[in-house]
């Protein structure tokens, strides 16, 4: 993203319905670099904003790696590295290895889901330009925000402000970078 002194223009809304409506209109107006902020997850909003979600894929890959490495670890240790004959059981006693294979699948899948989600979201990120707007502290309580980034090709301070005003927000603020 190009570094500019202005990060974007932010509008504040009172309700989830207003925000979703505004996000849809913004999309329809042709703005592409847009984000919205809400104090709780809103399914319709994700649709209106349009975002990629690779979390399920990352989780699947993690779980498969966990399961495969869980089984292969046991196979290698019990059948190749140090085979011990316990009451004539086969070295590769696969039924006995299922439990740990399963646990490793869950462990790796869960860790991939959490850390994959954080990585895809670019978190942790203690500083972010949107925090420069004092009213943004309400985004974790009961206010809803929509931002059009200055990196949007159609961005012009006056044009965007005028557009956002047409959405009927509670307030509009410019976000310094």
């Amino acid at each position: 993203m190009k570094r500019t002194p202005i990060y974007g223009m932010m509008a504040e809304f009172d309700s989830a319905t207003d925000l979703v409506g505004a996000a849809r209109k913004t999309h329809a107006a042709g703005y592409k670099k847009v984000d919205a902020y809400s104090p709780f997850p809103i399914e319709d909003l994700a649709e209106a904003i349009q975002c990629s979600n690779y979390v399920p894929l990352v989780t699947l890959i993690g779980a498969l790696i966990g399961g495969a490495s869980g089984y292969l670890m046991q196979y290698w240790m019990m059948a190749i590295s140090y085979p011990i004959n316990v009451g004539g059981r086969p070295y590769n006693s696969w039924p006995a290895f299922i439990v740990i294979t399963f646990e490793m699948t869950i462990l790796f899948g869960g860790i991939s889901a959490v850390f994959g989600m954080l990585a895809l979201n670019g978190l942790p990120m203690p500083y972010h330009p949107v925090f420069n707007v004092p009213r943004f502290a309400m985004a974790t309580k009961d206010r809803f925000f929509l931002i059009i980034f200055s990196s949007d090709p159609r961005y012009s301070p006056a044009g965007v402000r005028q557009f956002l005003e047409s959405l009927g927000p509670r307030s509009i603020s410019e976000v310094p970078s």
């Binding site: 989830a16 319905t17 979703v20 409506g21 984000d35 919205a36 902020y37 809400s38 104090p39 709780f40 997850p41 809103i42 399914e43 319709d44 909003l45 994700a46 209106a48 904003i49 975002c51 979390v55 399920p56 989780t59 779980a63 670890m73 046991q74 240790m77 019990m78 140090y82 011990i84 316990v86 006693s93 006995a96 290895f97 439990v99 740990i100 399963f102 646990e103 490793m104 869950i106 462990l107 899948g109 869960g110 860790i111 889901a113 959490v114 994959g116 989600m117 954080l118 979201n121 978190l123 942790p124 990120m125 203690p126 972010h128 502290a137 309400m138 985004a139 974790t140 309580k141 009961d142």
Partner: protein, 459 residues
């Protein structure tokens, strides 16, 4: 149990999931002010202090154990497992209700869970931590406990992967890790709320670091929701597997009374049974002391009571099948185990177990009792005692008289056994007191989604 939140109002008119009249702002204020503004009460200090003293007692008992060895306990040959394993199974079972509430009820869209999942998850974590202590110190040389993990070592060998005890190591450590991740990831948006609401610079920095810079972006929420659901989907089979694997510790062996196929389902049901009892024992005083009756309503208490009633019957079925198989298998050792339970030296504990787990909880059929907090609290206490007795009966009564009369014995716990056990209860309480003081005990963002104004109206 199957009622959806939509027809809550129709079916259960007196007990909504959240009292009417709340907005995003008031829900946020009410929950976050417990942590941020409310002065720490004397009662909190007394409770925390009592827990802390008991924790110190536990550390003393463990310290003495490390110096002297497991001979200070009541364990012997034939009863090598004793209190350590009884308490391990009891604690880990208690943890299971937290995961049931946070994961399984999430997948089943039981949104009433939103106000109790946070502290139920915390309960899971602390219970699993308390459980983990026991097998660790029961090894006798806890400073070598890392030998349980497969790591390349100078001795050039590996743990025995065909042993259920090693499965247990993997199951319990996975369970703790996933529970911790689930709990923490659920906390992140609420930590951001605390960061933004806090007036105190130190608190702002600490909550700010823990919140990882969460800003509630729609893209973040989208991925967050799918990670949360996937984690719930992974935790669901996990929680069922954990107590199944714990039951394998017994069932894979050939000891009479242990070697049965009913153990996995019956252990899992028993775990949830005792876990919900612990949830109620925590929820009832917490909602009273912190004035949270509007969020943790009578409906939550009633639903928990119904879950206990249902799982209690599964447990009763387990006892029935155990007794039936003692006779039906035609195996004289199994038959003797049954006889020994009814007439042996520990018969009192077996009958107490039946009273605590089967007969007394039937009082929950009475609606008046399900809505009475005192009654529910007392029945939950009885169930927790009963579930502890169940593990005592399983561990001690099977081991003390097995195949050969010459290897029969008796088990008497010593004061060190009791000090360690009661000490872990203290540790659990200490952790719970710290948790309700410094973290939001109810998930704020999930409560917001329950409010009518959270609904996006079609234009």
């Amino acid at each position: 149990m199957a009622d959806q939140t939509d027809n809550v109002a129709v079916e259960n008119q007196n007990a909504p999931v959240i009292e009417p009249g709340y907005t995003f702002g008031t829900v946020t204020d009410k929950i976050s002010s417990i942590v941020l503004n409310r002065p720490t009460s004397t009662g909190w200090f007394i409770g925390f202090g009592a827990g802390f003293v008991l924790t110190m007692m536990m550390l003393f008992a463990i310290g003495y154990l490390v110096v002297k060895g497991t001979g200070i306990w009541g364990i012997n040959i034939p009863i090598g497992w004793g209190f350590a394993i009884v308490n391990f199974v009891w604690w880990i079972g208690i943890g299971h209700a937290g995961t049931l509430i946070s994961a399984i009820l999430l997948l089943l869209r039981q949104s009433w869970r939103n106000s109790i999942n946070r502290f139920a998850e915390a309960m899971t974590l602390f219970a699993v931590a308390a459980a983990g202590i026991f097998p660790l110190i029961h090894t006798g040389r806890p400073w070598l406990a890392y030998w349980l993990f497969p790591y390349p070592n100078t001795m050039n060998y590996w743990p025995q992967f065909r042993s259920p005890l090693l499965w247990d190591v993997f199951a319990v450590s996975t369970y703790f890790t996933i529970s911790l991740l689930f709990w923490f990831i659920g906390l992140v948006p609420d930590l951001a709320t605390l960061r933004d609401r806090s007036q105190n610079r130190t608190a702002q920095i600490i909550y700010g670091m823990l919140a990882l810079g969460w800003r509630g972006s729609a893209r973040h929420w989208h991925r967050y929701e799918s990670a949360y659901l996937l984690l719930a989907g992974l935790a669901t089979p996990l929680v069922l597997s954990v107590h199944t694997v714990v039951s394998f510790d017994f069932a894979i062996s050939i000891v009479p009374g242990w070697h049965t196929t009913i153990f996995p389902p019956y252990f899992v049901a028993g775990a949830i049974y005792s876990g919900f009892a612990m949830v109620l024992m925590l929820a009832i005083p917490i909602r009273k002391l912190y004035g949270l009756e509007d969020f943790i309503t009578d409906r939550h208490l009633q639903n928990s009571a119904k879950v206990m009633l249902a799982t209690g019957w599964i447990v009763a079925y387990g006892y029935g099948i155990e007794a039936f198989m003692g006779w039906y298998s035609g195996n004289r050792y199994d038959a003797f185990t049954l006889w020994n339970r009814l007439h042996g030296p520990y018969a009192f504990f077996y009958f107490s177990l039946l009273a605590c787990n089967i007969f007394i909880p039937q009082l929950l059929w009475i609606r008046k009792l399900r809505t009475s907090t005192v009654g529910l609290f007392l029945i939950s206490l009885v169930i927790l005692v009963g579930m502890w007795l169940e593990r005592f009966v399983i561990v001690v009564m099977s081991l003390h008289r097995d195949f050969l009369n010459s290897s029969w014995g008796m088990y008497y716990p010593t004061r060190w056994d009791w000090m360690t056990y009661i000490g872990t209860i203290g540790m659990f309480l200490t952790a719970m007191f710290l948790f309700v003081r410094i973290l939001p005990m109810i998930s704020i963002f999930e409560m917001r989604t329950l409010l009518p104004e959270a609904e996006v109206k079609a234009e």
